[in-house]
């Protein structure tokens, strides 16, 4: 299907690649279908989570484990049921990222990752109860100052 996107014009996407957010995400409750788009630059670890039914809604996302290998959200049984997760190895986490005008202040939301069950492409923005994962994780500052471990950085402050 052909969809209109915020940054890449019209893009052809396969129905099978659509990601379904049953509840929408906080702030955007009426948008349920998204797709992940890259810019074909393999050096760029960021992707765009583009709303299928609203061209102007698109979020920058990244997999936290790319810079925090130990990132491990705890998903409770309700989340597992809603997303029909049977195997945690089939789950991907992305964090929604704010790119301000001063790009060095880029920050990403580790407290409320997008959790995708890759088996059925059901997804949800899950609010974690893990204080070590910050709502505003300033990527460049944290990585420069720390060991790359979110817990260690949290304790250091």
């Amino acid at each position: 299907m052909l969809i209109e996107t915020k940054h890449f014009g019209k893009v052809e996407v396969a129905e099978a690649d659509l990601i379904s957010f049953v509840e929408g995400i906080p702030g955007f409750p009426n948008l349920h279908r998204y797709v992940l788009l890259g810019d074909n630059d393999e050096n760029n670890p960021f992707l765009w989570l583009q709303a299928v039914d609203m061209p102007e809604t698109s979020f920058v996302v990244i997999q936290p484990k790319l810079f925090l290998p130990n990132y491990q959200p705890r998903l409770n049984n309700e989340i597992l049921e809603i997303l029909e997760i049977e195997d945690l190895n089939q789950v991907l986490h992305y964090s929604i990222t704010v790119v301000p005008e001063d790009v060095l202040q880029i920050r990403t939301n580790l407290q409320a990752p997008i959790v995708i069950n890759t088996r059925n492409n059901k997804a949800k923005q899950v609010i974690l109860n893990q204080p070590e994962y910050k709502l505003r994780y300033y990527i460049f500052q944290e990585l420069k100052g720390g060991t790359g471990d979110a817990c260690a950085n949290q304790k250091a402050k």
Partner: protein, 76 residues
């Protein structure tokens, strides 16, 4: 807003399948138990609002800024 007075261990029912029970009262703190269908999100309001605000901020990102970030990462 509907205002109801409840005592310890008393419950209010919202619709057919949501219940809120007062579990404990200590000074200015009240512990509530909420039982609801699993698809109903239940959050502390201040956290939910922060995440909503952060999502709205995130939706303002532009392609040029992200390209600059990509370049910074590449040069590192």
């Amino acid at each position: 807003m509907l205002v109801l007075t409840r005592k310890l261990n008393e419950t209010i029912v919202i619709g057919d399948n949501i219940e809120v029970t007062v579990l404990d009262i200590k000074g200015d703190q009240v512990r509530l138990g909420v039982s609801a269908p699993k698809e109903v999100g239940i959050y502390r309001k201040e956290i939910y609002l922060e995440i909503k605000k952060e999502n709205q901020q995130a939706s303002l990102a532009n392609l040029t800024s992200l390209k600059i970030i990509g370049k910074i990462i590449k040069d590192k």
